[in-house]
């Protein structure tokens, strides 16, 4: 019943958010809440032997396996740093009049509920339950995008809700297909992952194929995969940066998690190859669309958002390859991308605070960046190097080994992917060289320096430290965890 600790913490925090009058304590409470969730996850890892059922209410609704718990921990870390950062960030938003002080409580309540639903989604053993949790994460994250109430934000939030929820309804049809597939074989319908995994090889492959296609539409939209990615750049760029970090670092993983789980079912049937083709094509197109959009991007947060589409695109490519090694690097790429992207959005958020244009539709005019915001500038540079796949950062290894796996499918696929990745890197390099070397006009008045509170600087510095250590040090125990995750999903030993 350890799972009940998560909603209890969320409810306690929400009561605090409603009752506590002091803004300072509200900020602190948000950070403490996400820290408490990390602690509970730590206790769960240390005390519950995985995989485990019966960790939550009802039977067949919740379970904990290594894959789910791993993603709970990753999103827990992202939420913790984002909550720590949110205090200073929202204060600044209120200073500039972008966030009404009355909305601060709503912001933190939304954040707490979002974290709860993301966490529970990774523990869901029932596909129907997972579906509703995915949908709730969309609704509450859209609320956080719209919280600034600027027209651009509302536009972005509505586009986000309509695109993702529409696609998610298709995955509900997929859920119906799965239920019927199970019913036609087992005599009784079920939506429980663990039961479905045991019997997937005996299911009628055509029905399971149809189910996967429908499920994929919803989960692909959730993770910003082509052609359902259209909502992502706007929502990620317009959201407050703490929320952008969560959208990119925690929420995209929810969709990929769904795709991997669904693929683990269909992988056991004769239609695995057809599904692989769908995954590889949509992955490659995602990388392509993102790479070309990044080439002439003039908005830093949009550039980072497109880089998320690029990185998410790599994942279905790897999943489509379907070998245990490919899956091994897919899972590590999810970790590396989450932490790196969160650090990038958090440091980019500081620059956005410094250079925000009074017109919410216009791009930031970055000048004298090393004089005004040296730490954030270096944060963005190091983060960009990391996301581009430079050694010693972990994405270097994940991209390198994913590409070697892609090469086993076709050398042309490798060439195309490599070329697109290089275009994306060129886009990032062009942006940084161009924008970060810009100096202010000597005659014009210099912009005033925005003093960044420690609570905003620490999160991205620590995240960079974590990914650097992860890149340099990959202990045997960690390798064993990732191998077990892949084996647990039925893809065989690494």
């Amino acid at each position: 019943m350890i799972l009940l600790a998560y909603p209890l913490i969320a409810v306690a925090a929400i009561i605090g958010f409603i009752l506590i009058p002091s803004r300072r304590i509200l900020h602190l409470l948000a950070a403490v809440e996400s820290a408490a969730i990390l602690v509970v996850t730590g206790i769960l890892i240390l005390t519950v032997p995985l995989p485990a059922t019966g960790i939550g209410p009802g039977s067949g609704f919740f379970f904990a396996d290594l894959f789910g718990v791993f993603l709970v921990a990753v999103s827990g870390v992202v939420f913790f740093f984002a909550s720590l950062y949110a205090g200073g960030y929202t204060e600044r938003l209120m200073e500039t009049g972008e966030l009404k002080p009355s909305r601060l409580r709503l912001f933190y309540i939304g954040l707490a509920l979002l974290q709860l639903f993301v966490t529970l989604a990774f523990f869901a053993d029932n596909l129907g339950l997972f579906w509703i949790l995915v949908e709730l994460t969309t609704v509450f994250s859209a609320l956080l995008v719209a919280i600034l109430a600027a027209r651009e934000n509302i536009d972005a939030a509505l586009k986000y809700i309509f695109t993702v929820s529409t696609a998610t309804l298709f995955s509900f049809a997929g859920v119906i297909f799965i239920f019927e597939t199970a019913r036609s074989t087992l005599g009784e319908g079920t939506l429980t992952w663990t039961v479905l995994m045991q019997h997937a090889s005996s299911f009628p492959p055509t029905l399971l194929f149809a189910a996967f296609v429908f499920l994929f539409i919803g989960f692909a939209a959730k993770s910003g995969i082509f052609p359902f990615h259209t909502w992502l750049p706007d929502a990620h760029a317009k959201a407050p940066s703490a929320v952008s970090a969560i959208l990119s670092g925690a929420l995209l993983n929810v969709g990929i998690y769904g795709i991997i789980r669904a693929f683990a079912l269909v992988h056991q049937t004769a239609f695995a190859e057809k599904i692989s083709l769908i995954l590889i094509v949509s992955g490659l197109l995602s990388v392509g669309v993102a790479a070309f959009a990044m080439l002439y991007q003039t908005n830093l947060k949009k550039l980072i958002a497109f880089s998320s589409i690029e990185n998410m695109g790599l994942l279905p490519l790897g999943i489509g390859v379907g070998s245990p090694l490919a899956l091994f690097w897919v899972v590590i790429h999810m970790l590396a991308h989450s932490l790196t992207k969160a650090s990038l959005f958090l440091s980019a958020g500081v620059l956005h605070r410094q250079y925000r244009s009074p017109d919410p539709g216009a791009d930031d005019q970055i000048v004298d960046v090393f004089d005004l915001q040296p730490s954030a500038a270096w944060g963005v540079i190091v983060g960009t190097l990391a996301i581009a796949g430079t050694p010693p950062f972990p994405i270097f290894y994940t991209k390198f080994f994913l590409l070697t796996q892609v090469a086993t499918v076709s050398p042309w696929l490798l060439a195309a992917t490599l070329l697109l990745l290089m275009i994306a890197v060129a886009g990032m390099a062009r942006f940084l060289i161009h924008e970060f070397s810009a100096r202010s006009d000597a005659s014009a008045q210099k912009p005033r320096r925005y003093v960044v509170p420690l609570g905003m600087r620490l999160p991205f510095v620590l995240l960079i430290a974590i990914i650097t250590v992860q890149g340099l040090w990959f202990p045997v125990q960690e390798v064993s965890v990732f191998s077990q995750i892949v084996a647990g999903l039925g893809f065989g030993g690494v």
Binding site: L158, F162, L169, V175, F179
Partner: protein, 231 residues
């Protein structure tokens, strides 16, 4: 036997009526009319669930019918009606990408496409054995796609919401015809629908006005509690 053929006639009639409502949702311009059409579509589905429950003796379908009437014939349309009156938008004239006539043509193509592909997927289990249910499943998926057309071809967010709701009706129809989902799933999707409608309509109030007017509207209609004094 007369009973069965009579029920067949009713079910056929409902299917045709559902398709007609979907066509109206794609092409009509008056918002109150669109809302009434949605209401009628939901009512038709509730009747269908009732009829199926009568045939199968399934109490779950009866519950589905009751839930549909309460939520989709009464509560959700009432809420949207209130919002429409408050923001005083009566007509949604703007179409993007597709004008109504071409939308209807696209729908026909979608219909045939769904019929053929679903025939391939479900043939062994359904198409021959239970033609009526198979046809319902085809209409369900087509209704989803037509709802999606509404979402993408209309500019006004409230009309988009109606498109989404109509898509969900498609899912419901598909669900009723293909399998017997646990009732909890129907409740789940209804909760999702209600939250989504509330959030999107609140945001819609904002999109048709300036920020100041938006704040004012929110306060005036107490759509969410504003507690500026508390901070």
């Amino acid at each position: 036997m007369t009973d069965v053929s009579f029920i067949d006639v009713i079910v056929r009639f409902i299917f045709v009526a559902v398709v007609i409502t979907a066509v109206f949702l794609i092409s009509a311009r008056s918002l109150p009319f669109l809302l009434q059409t949605y209401r009628l579509q939901s009512l038709l589905l509730a009747v269908l669930a009732g009829v199926f429950s009568f045939v199968d003796g399934s109490t779950i379908l009866l519950w589905v019918a009751a839930l549909t009437v309460v939520s989709k014939v009464l509560v959700i349309p009432y809420f949207i009606e209130e919002i429409q009156e408050r923001i005083s938008i009566r007509r949604d004239l703007e179409f993007r990408y597709l004008a109504p006539a071409s939308s209807i043509l696209v729908s026909i193509v979608l219909f045939i496409g769904v019929y053929l592909s679903l025939g391939n997927i479900l043939s062994s289990t359904y198409a021959q054995a239970r033609p009526m249910f198979f046809f319902g499943a085809v209409i369900g998926i087509s209704l989803m796609l037509m709802g999606m057309l509404v979402i993408f071809s209309r500019r006004d967010a409230i009309t988009k919401v109606l498109g989404y709701l109509s898509m969900e009706n498609g899912v419901l129809l598909f669900g009723i015809c293909v399998t017997e989902l646990p009732f909890i799933m129907d409740v789940t999707i209804m909760i999702d629908l209600i939250i989504l409608v509330i959030l999107t309509t609140i945001l819609t109030v904002g999109i048709d006005s300036t920020i100041e007017a938006y704040e004012e509207k929110i306060r005036q209609y107490s759509l969410w509690t504003v507690r500026e004094d508390a901070l």
